[in-house]
Every structure is written in structure tokens, then in C-alpha cells.
């Protein structure tokens, strides 16, 4: 026979469940557009760095080498578009797309990554990536405003 206490226990569990799922439930619009609490500008600022060079080809080659050094497999590369996509498999799935475009006498490099099914929204991994890229280019990665 079920006591009132047992019912109360069940209620507590049911109460926790939506809280537990709350972290990963988003509307389809949010999922498609990635329109989270971060502004587009915020995202761009930590995903982008500028390098003092006009040599797009050299930067593209350095991006490829850096990604390989970080354990990525190069999925595709397009020198006209200036984009490189790569995947890292290490019991997790990490995907990254890097785009390279000239701006004045600099080259802008932008990266966006996805860990399993979530976008990488922590600035630190991007910082790690740009530091490695800077080392292989012998150039300092500069913040872009």
C-alpha cells in the first residue's frame, strides 16, 4: 500500500526531472539559429583574430598544419573561399571550420567549433587555437574589435 510519504517522494523526483532536462532543451528556432544568450558580436570577437600579413595562402597552409598538430583530420579545404573544415575523433567528436579573409594589410582568421552536439562557446579553446596558429606563422594573434 502506498503511503502519502511515498507519493511525496515521487513528486520530488518528477519536480527535479524537468530541471535536469532544462539544460539541453531548446526550441527548434534556437537550435537552428544558435540564438543563445550571447550576441553575434560577442561570438565573433572571441572567434576572430587578425594577423599582420597579406599572404592568404601562407595563412591557409598554417591553419592546416596547426589543425593537424592538434590532432584534426582535414575534411575539406577551399583556397578561393579561404575555408578549412576539420574533425578530431578522440572518443568525442570535435568539428571546426576556419575561414581566412584579407582585410586591409591584415588577414582575419575566424574559427567556430562544435563539440559532439554543442557549439563551443568558451573563449579559451579558441585562444589556444590562435596561440598555436600564431606560433606556426611566427606572428602575434591580435584581437579584433
Amino acid at each position: 500500500m502506498k503511503t502519502l510519504f511515498q507519493h511525496a517522494k515521487k513528486m520530488v523526483l518528477i519536480g527535479i526531472l524537468p530541471l535536469a532536462l532544462g539544460g539541453c532543451v531548446a526550441t527548434m528556432k534556437e537550435q537552428v539559429l544558435d540564438s543563445t544568450n550571447e550576441s553575434q558580436l560577442q561570438k565573433r570577437s572571441y572567434q576572430t583574430r587578425a594577423f599582420d600579413t597579406t599572404d592568404k595562402q601562407k595563412v591557409l597552409r598554417a591553419v592546416i598544419a596547426t589543425l593537424q598538430d592538434l590532432g584534426f583530420l582535414i575534411d575539406r579545404a577551399d583556397s578561393t573561399l579561404g575555408s578549412i573544415s576539420a574533425t578530431k575523433l578522440d572518443s568525442y567528436l570535435l568539428k571546426i571550420t576556419v575561414s581566412v579573409r584579407p582585410r586591409g594589410d591584415q588577414i582575419l582568421v575566424r574559427a567556430n567549433a562544435q563539440y559532439n552536439v554543442t557549439p563551443v562557446e568558451d573563449p579559451k579553446p579558441y585562444q589556444d587555437f590562435f596561440n598555436s596558429l600564431g606560433k606556426s606563422l611566427f606572428l602575434q594573434a591580435q584581437n579584433v574589435d
Binding site: G23, Q57, S132
Partner: protein
């Protein structure tokens, strides 16, 4: 076999366990965080670079790519993507992943514990191959400079055509002169088990890379001799 307890078990200990299990989930949402070292170069990754790279001297970048594409085809890969101006090739193949050792293990487990452990069923193997000039020895590289917007070939052509005749000849000779290149290859695989679960890995078996480069060396030689 032990009977599975229902989620809302009436036993107090089970209730406590379930509730405790939900709390971290409630705090973190449903995602496991990315390992902080995912974008950092480690000693293991440096060793991997060693394993995945070989230097080839005295050939053109195009010859290195053609030989590599031929070797991948010899190994049954289907070419997926390529960008010659960046020295990139990507290929893949699907293969059976049944493994004798794994099946023996699963049978033992089944006999001892009475549970059927899932085993590898099929796999998708992917490879990327990149040819990069070794050091500063690329003959064409200086002419890629200032390639904003234009494709490197166009830029190089423009730069070359603007030169006096004697210089033009020297540059063309330099561009077609064989150089030294680093070929780096990476193999990854996605394995599907009999219960349709998957696991993913970057292949780190030294023998596989060794054998690939042996084949590539032979292919480069054959290509050079036009056999």
C-alpha cells in the same frame, strides 16, 4: 539474470540513488563538457605528428599529390575532396569491422556472465593527406604573397608576366624544379557495434602509418620512373 528495478523504486536506498543521480544532471544540463586540452598541443600529439609525417625530397608538389592519390586508391579509398593549391586530399571507405579477438572476448563474457556484449560490426575509415613545402624550400611560395582575393595561380602568373624575360625564365625554372615536401597523413575511424552504438578514434597504430609511407615511397618512385 538480475531483474531491472523500476525507476520509481519503492526501496529508500534506490530512491536516494536515483535522486542523487539526477542532481548533477540538473546542475550541468545534459552535456558533458569539452576536455580543456582539446585545443592544446601535448606530447602525445607531437608523437602523433612524428608518426604521421614523412619528408620526400626532389619531387614537385603535384607529383607528391598524384602519387598519394594513387596509393589511397590502391588501398580502396574513394576520393572525397581535394584542393591541389593547398596540397589537401580527403578520402574514405566503408569496411567490415568484425574482429576475431573481440568476438572471443564477447563469447567468454557471455558464458561467464550471461550477457551478450556488443562487438564491432562495421566501420567508416577516413583519411586526410596534406603535402606541405618543407621549411622555406617551396619554389612558388614567395609568389603567393599578396594573394588577396585572387587565386594563387593567377597571382603568380601576373607577378611572373610583369618580370623581365631573363628573370621570368629563372622563376619558371624554379617553380618547376623539384623541391622537398612533408606529407602528413591522418587516419580516423567510426566503428558501429552490433547494438548500433558507435565509437570513434584517430588511428595511432604505428605499423599502419609505416606501411602507408612504404607504399607511398614506392609509388613516388614508380611515378618518377613512369613505370
Amino acid at each position: 539474470m538480475k531483474k531491472q528495478k523500476p525507476f520509481f523504486s519503492s526501496s529508500p536506498s534506490a530512491y536516494r540513488r536515483r535522486t542523487l543521480m539526477l542532481i548533477p544532471l540538473a546542475l550541468t544540463g545534459c552535456v558533458t563538457p569539452m576536455p580543456p586540452e582539446a585545443f592544446q598541443v601535448s606530447q602525445a600529439l607531437l608523437d602523433q605528428r612524428q608518426l604521421q609525417s614523412r619528408r620526400f625530397d626532389g619531387l614537385t608538389e603535384q607529383a607528391a599529390l598524384v602519387s598519394s592519390a594513387n596509393v589511397l586508391q590502391d588501398m580502396g579509398f574513394n576520393l572525397e575532396n581535394s584542393e591541389v593549391s593547398l596540397g589537401v586530399l580527403t578520402a574514405n571507405k566503408q569496411r567490415d569491422a568484425t574482429n576475431a579477438g573481440e568476438i572471443v572476448g564477447a563469447i567468454f563474457l557471455a558464458l561467464l556472465l550471461g550477457v551478450a556484449a556488443p562487438v564491432s560490426k562495421s566501420q567508416s575509415i577516413r583519411v586526410s593527406l596534406v603535402v606541405q613545402p618543407a621549411g622555406s624550400e617551396s619554389a612558388i611560395a614567395p609568389f603567393y604573397a599578396g594573394a588577396s582575393g585572387a587565386t594563387p595561380k593567377e597571382t603568380a602568373k601576373k607577378a611572373i608576366s610583369a618580370m623581365p624575360d631573363a628573370e621570368q625564365k629563372a622563376v619558371i625554372a624554379a617553380a618547376t624544379k623539384p623541391g622537398n615536401y612533408i606529407v602528413r597523413v591522418t587516419f580516423q575511424r567510426v566503428v558501429t557495434r552490433t547494438d548500433n552504438s558507435i565509437y570513434v578514434e584517430t588511428i595511432s597504430d604505428a605499423e599502419i602509418y609505416q606501411e602507408f609511407f612504404d607504399k607511398l615511397s614506392k609509388s613516388v618512385f614508380i611515378e618518377a620512373q613512369q613505370i
